[in-house]
């Protein structure tokens, strides 16, 4: 009890020092800088990019939405016929080589698969194209 009173008296005697009690604390941290927030910003940007990519992918594959997109139509038809990436690429190349206005037109053009008139760059793909023709028509 006596020690407690002693301590209290000591503190009361140093009353004038209490006013500056927090000064040291402020002085110990400098002002926040851009670098402090950089990790957070990078994280947010990556997150936004991921979300945007996800939304884009979802939108790209959402065939129920009204649009006017020839590439999307090509994908829609490719998906309906369960065509793999390689076949899609081949069909797209064929459409380009045949100078079709839209890649999807290749799904309705049996003549585009005519082996005798195949462009030189696609002649090597002749067997695959023949199979695709069999599959689509």
């Amino acid at each position: 009890m006596t020690s407690w009173l002693h301590t209290t008296a000591l503190l009361a005697a140093q009353h004038s020092h209490w006013r500056r009690l927090g000064d040291g604390l402020y002085r110990s941290k400098s002002r926040p800088e851009f670098a402090d927030f950089l990790p957070y910003l990078i994280f947010a940007a990556v997150l936004a990019a991921v979300i945007a990519v996800v939304v884009l992918i979802i939108k790209r594959n959402d065939m129920s939405e009204s649009c006017n997109d020839p590439q999307k139509l090509f994908r829609e038809l490719s998906r309906a016929h369960r065509l793999g990436r390689a076949n899609r690429r081949l069909l797209s190349q064929l459409a380009t080589a045949r100078k079709l206005r839209q890649p999807a037109e290749v799904f309705l053009s049996p003549a585009a698969f005519e082996l005798s008139s195949l462009p030189p760059q696609l002649r090597s793909q002749q067997p695959r194209l023949e199979k695709l023709r069999e599959r689509l028509f």
């Binding site: 065939m63 997109d69 309906a80």
Partner: protein, 538 residues
Amino acid sequence: MKKSLQLTFETLRKSRNDAVVPVLISTLDRTEGSVLEGAVKTLISRRNSEGHLAVIRRWHALNPDQRRLLKPGRGRITTALRDAIVSGDPQLFENACELIVEFSDFDLIPVLVTLAEDRSSPQALPATKLILKLADRLRKMVHGTRDYSDRRDPQSLRRFALASLERSASHYRRHRRSELVEAFVILASTSSGTLRTILNDPHHACFQVVIQTLTHSESAIDLLLSFLQVDRTPQTVLNAMSHRVDAAFVSRLLQYASEEMTPAGRRNLSLIQSFSCLKPQHLSCSALSVVDRQRSVALAEASGMQSDDMLELIETLLLSDEVPQVRAAACAGLASLQSDRADRLILQAMQDEAPEVEAAAALLLRKRRITGSLSKLVQLLDSPHEIVRDAARQALADFSFRTFSARYETLPDKVRRGTGELVVKIDPQAIPELVSELQATGYQRRLKAIAMAKSLKVVQRIAQTLIELLGDEEHLIRAAAAEALQECPTAEVQLALLQASQDHSSVVQSAAKNSLASMANPAISPPADPPTSQEVAR
């Protein structure tokens, strides 16, 4: 079509991507066979007028099977058809016109009317013809039996088309397209205010066109006949009817006149005093069918024709028509005409070689005060033709057994015998009714029937019934029957009379013996009348 190709078209049909349409349109020009057909079908199934227009543009190049693929597009491709009509492209316009007819797309009538009114447009004339064609088709839908597979309501379609045609009729001075007014008249109903206004105003710009249509257009027949069945029909309409001589109208009118008519119909017909179609020059056999010529008399009777005109019509038919049924119908038409000329025509008809005509005349003869008509009818009772005998019997229906029976007591004996013979000839029910009387419960009726049998000279025909009466409980009946049976000298009757001569009643015995004696010696005349009540009492 292969499944994979079907899958492609199914995907294209369902896709919400508008890029489908250019893909399919480019396919129309590049492919043929099943791919082309699939492309047409898919384009039509999608709600995109650009695609529809592309198909319409190629309509003339499609074969019948491919054209059939457009059928489901009825109603859906109307916008594209409208675009095609106003495009100014002659081939596209022609294709659209063909499709409008194919689909009976009446929704496009207002667009066509606008085009037809534009005299500077090279498509105005074909548009006008198309409007007339559509109006006639719509009229048939309105007046014909409703086809419920077509979900469109003909009355709504008519109202829709009429709105633009009425407007066009009011602009007639400007465009002078009589076909548009004709289309209006074809579709108009009797309640159309515009039509009635025109019909009641001879100075109206459209008056002449409307009258021309009513007088000559086959498509206006339904309207004319509708006017016949309503009140307050304009006189101009009745005049138009009276001037028409075309077989299509006359045939319908004659059919109407021969059926049960409404009071308004009867009234309207009675207001028409002459029909050009009933003039002798138009009644040639080739113009009207036999049935129609038969009906012409009914129309004349229903109309307000003067009796002289009617007699002229009947005379023409009666004396010049080759078909007996027509001459017979004409003769029947004389029933309502009372004049010397009518009587002469009846007598002329009596000389007709066809029994039908003779029969028709016979039916009229009795009601006329023509000298010798009764004896002529009596002669006809022996005609070799059943129809004539029947007609004579019908004309002499007064000479029935019932009448004879009712008046029997009042007739002198000589008249009884003379009339009795006629009654048997005329009334086929005379014998059955006499037998029924012979079997009646009241003995007075049986007694009278036995006396009537002698007057009718039918004792031999009812001998069996009389033999049965020899066993009657009333001795007076037995005696009368025994006495009557002397006119029938058969073995069976004689045997019956022999038995009757053993009857416990002396009156019956006497009558039976007298009859037997009379049979054995016909010179002995039997007592003329049945026993009197005094004899019975004795």
